[in-house]
């Protein structure tokens, strides 16, 4: 039986209202139409995933490439993305102290290779994700602070023991990154990187992966929900670069653009002139545009230098130009997405580095640089060659030049960039969007700000940030939790020397083909990418 999670559900529902308000209403007639089986949905990945291990990787393209292959224990309802429902879980219950969750699994579920699914697969997957030695930047990073252990009680029941009662537990398990892999596949391949290892219980089977070209799924005829999926398959073209993506959209080669990178206004206008058979809409995508500094290497191992960059980065200018105004500059949490957990924007926009005009901050930043590098300094500014990161990089380099930091741009192919950043092989990353796994205030802190964050590329560590994050995570009283997150945001803004610099929350334009039915955008860019209930009208 679907279960709503009280406070969180209210919060996410509010966020959903905001998000969905921006989306054109679904044509009422569509709801009354009878789903029509068949057809291939076409959309695209912004880059080549290279590796496919959904437990070990963090790029959206990895999640997109494998989304329909796996099931989770829980999921955001494809019919109402603000609601959490069971996926492999038939039902779940929490102990009165909120520290034990018992999850009852569906019976007679089969993996794509015909092997039966059981609680052993769940335990193997979550043991892997929670292994301290295993780097899991998404699901693992979110669950490790909360979960003490996972046990298979019987073949159809698993039990999660938490370290403390944690409000984000259920939404984190429902995250599209917490997928259940088959134990025998993990044993056979050791990881989930290979195309052959893509054996799950999801609505689609992995059919083909042509590097740099296309990823294809085909309908899983033995899917555990009878009658689903409606589609015969999904084809994801690997389209690198805005012009290629837009050209494919204009030529009707893709039916959906609801993933990162969003279109910019100029692109949406261009598409609108080329196609009348699509609904174009503006929406937030639960993603933060970060600038990262490497806190382990000179010059940014020096707090003064980090502070200088924090001061000089003109978030408003970057959002105005790079995002064509579609974004929320400076905010550590976006009030549009998490409501009053976010510090009021009036207060945020008075913080050093965020306040306008920038003159005083730039002057102070310049002094800090001159103190350590009287003649200025040369640095390499890295970006992955995806989205409009190169444009953003040029803007960041231009801003840094004002304080004597002379940047030279180094561009990386998408997967190579991730590998380099993960190893700390950079000085500055001028632009890296990080998407939230769940629409929950804790998400961003576990992604980019705490010592063990999955995307703490700068390897920055501040015990106070870790302490405040954990305090907020453990707090179950909503008002106190809100105050804890406000304290954390104020601390980060006031200290102003973090290696993860939030430029702003990204918004953008998207489209869907008018023939696509029952597609509801998720509250994060990762959710609702399985297309299990989507169908194509004639």
């Amino acid at each position: 039986m679907p279960m709503r999670c009280s406070r969180l559900a209210r919060m996410t529902a509010r966020a959903a209202l905001v998000a969905l308000a921006l989306v054109p209403p679904v044509v009422p007639a569509a709801a009354q139409e009878k789903p029509r089986p068949g057809g291939i949905l076409t959309w695209f990945d912004y880059g080549d995933p290279g590796r496919l291990d959904v437990h070990a990787e963090s790029p959206l393209v990895v999640q997109q490439a494998t989304a329909g292959i796996y099931s989770g224990l829980l999921q955001y309802d494809p019919d109402d993305p603000s609601k959490i429902i069971g996926d492999l879980a038939e039902k779940w219950t929490a102990s009165p102290d909120g520290k034990t969750y018992t999850i009852h699994l569906r019976k007679n579920v089969k993996c794509h290779d015909g092997q039966p699914f059981s609680s052993a697969d769940v335990k193997a997957s979550f043991d892997r994700l929670l292994n301290p030695e295993f780097k899991s930047p998404k699901c693992g990073a979110a669950l490790k602070p909360m979960v003490a252990s996972v046990e298979a009680v019987d073949p159809n029941t698993v039990e999660f023991k938490l370290k403390f009662a944690a409000a984000p537990f259920v939404p984190s398990v429902a995250s599209a990154w917490c997928r259940v892999a088959a134990k025998h596949i993990l044993a056979k391949y050791g990881d989930l990187n290979a195309a052959e290892a893509q054996v799950g219980t999801g609505p689609f089977k992995f059919k083909k992966y042509e590097r740099g070209s296309v990823i294809e799924w085909e309908k899983n005829p033995s899917y555990f929900i009878p009658g689903l999926p409606y589609l015969d398959g999904v084809k994801q073209f690997i389209l690198v670069g805005g012009p290629t993506q837009l050209a494919a959209a204009k030529a009707s080669k893709v039916m959906l653009w609801d993933a990162w990178p969003p279109m910019r206004k100029t692109q949406a206008d261009e598409l609108g002139r080329a196609r009348t058979d699509v609904d174009i809409y503006q929406a937030p995508i639960n993603t933060v545009f970060f600038v990262y500094l490497n806190a382990k290497k000179p010059p940014f191992d020096n707090p003064d230098m980090r502070r200088a960059v924090n001061l000089v980065i003109d978030r408003q200018d970057l959002v105005a130009k790079a995002l064509e105004g579609a974004g929320v500059p400076c905010a550590i949490l976006d009030p549009k997405l998490v409501g009053d957990f976010a510090l009021p924007l009036d207060e945020v926009n008075k913080a050093p580095g965020c306040r306008q005009p920038k003159d005083a901050d730039v002057a102070e930043a310049k002094k800090l640089v001159e103190k350590h590098y009287p003649g200025g300094l040369d640095v390499e500014v890295a970006v992955r060659q995806v989205g409009n990161y190169v444009d953003r990089g040029q803007l960041v380099i231009s801003q840094l030049r004002k304080i004597g930091i002379r940047g030279t741009m180094k561009t990386h192919e998408s997967a190579a960039g991730y590998a380099a950043f993960g190893k700390g092989d950079f000085t500055i990353i001028a632009s890296q969007d990080r998407a939230m796994d769940v629409n929950e205030p804790s998400g961003v802190f576990h992604i980019a700000y705490t010592t063990d964050s999955g995307s703490n590329y700068g390897q920055y560590s501040d015990p106070k940030v870790d302490e405040l994050t954990e305090k907020a995570l453990k707090e179950t009283n909503r008002d106190k939790r809100k105050q804890a997150y406000w304290e954390l945001q104020r601390y980060l803004l006031a200290k102003g020397d973090h290696a993860s610099i939030a430029v702003g929350w990204v918004e953008g334009w998207f489209f869907k083909d008018k023939k696509l039915r029952n597609y509801k955008p998720g509250l994060t860019t990762y959710d609702n990418n399985t297309f299990m209930k989507v169908w194509i009208a004639p």
Partner: protein
């Protein structure tokens, strides 16, 4: 009889050149303008080429004659600075590449034997690779920078120059004055330096002039596909690539760098053709 002043003699020669090679003269004017723009870019450009302080996608106007781009930079300033980058890449790669290839070709032509045969097989291997693919591979291996574009171009140009100059040098080697120099006891180095190289110079000059435009196009192509100069450098090819993203919104972002590439290549080709005509006795007309 009074001697004519040198200025009048020079202007007369230029006049005759213009009459004999009007297209070449037009090309020379374009190249001269290109060189002047490149040399005086800091004075001519109204703004810094990387200055992003303006509004984005401003259409050509009095303030911004070529408009602004997607991050708020003045396109005119970038086109002007782009001339400097293009000319630098073109000249440096051609001078190094063609000179290296020319020396290689001349020396192996004179030495002959196994050294010549072996070196020509190396040239065969290098010339068998499609130029853009080779340049792309080199850029991937070397990393993105303007100087690495030059290195890649040098590696592209050297075998072509070696093959061409070798064939010219083989003709010179067969002439009696080389035999006479050897009979007079001239060392190999002296024969190459004093007799062979000067007699191959005309072909070398033609190769240099015709390949500058080729280098500019290759640099622009590499930058266009994101494998040339770093993205923030004012490269005409890079500007084209960025302009493509807003072709309908801001066509000026593509038009002006495209025009600059076309004019530069057109001018250099016209000049190169004329120099070839002037230095080739079979094509030489009534000039002089």
């Amino acid at each position: 009889m009074r001697e004519r002043p040198p200025v009048r003699r020079a202007s007369g020669a230029i006049g005759r050149l213009v009459r004999a090679q009007p297209l070449g003269a037009a090309g020379a004017v374009v190249v001269l303008v290109l060189i002047l723009v490149a040399l005086f870019a800091p004075r001519l450009a109204p703004h810094g080429p990387k200055e992003t302080g303006f509004a984005t996608y401003v259409a050509p106007s009095r303030e911004f004659p070529m408009g602004t781009d997607q991050v708020g930079r003045d396109v005119l300033s970038r086109v002007i600075w782009g001339a400097r980058l293009s000319l630098y890449v073109g000249l440096a790669s051609v001078l190094f590449g063609i000179t290296l290839g020319a020396l290689w070709g001349v020396v192996t032509a004179y030495v002959g034997g196994a050294a010549d045969t072996g070196s020509q097989r190396v040239v065969d291997c290098l010339m068998a690779l499609p130029p853009i693919i080779l340049a792309l591979s080199l850029m991937a291996a070397l990393g993105q920078s303007v100087n690495n574009v030059i290195v890649a171009l040098v590696i592209l140009l050297t075998p072509t120059a070696a093959r061409t100059l070798r064939s010219v040098a083989l003709g010179v080697v067969a002439t009696p004055f080389i035999e006479a120099a050897e009979a007079a006891g001239a060392s190999r180095t002296r024969v190459i330096a004093r007799h062979l190289i000067p007699n191959c110079l005309a072909s070398y000059i033609v190769l240099v002039t015709t390949n500058i435009s080729y280098s500019i196009v290759v640099e622009a192509s590499l930058s266009f596909i994101g494998a040339g100069a770093p993205a923030d450098e004012p490269s005409w090819g890079g500007m084209l690539a960025q302009g493509i993203q807003a072709l309908e919104t801001a066509p000026w972002m593509v038009f002006f760098p495209g025009l600059a590439i076309s004019l530069a290549v057109f001018g250099l080709n016209l000049l190169g053709d004329s120099i070839r005509d002037l230095t080739d006795p079979r094509l030489r007309g009534g000039l002089g």
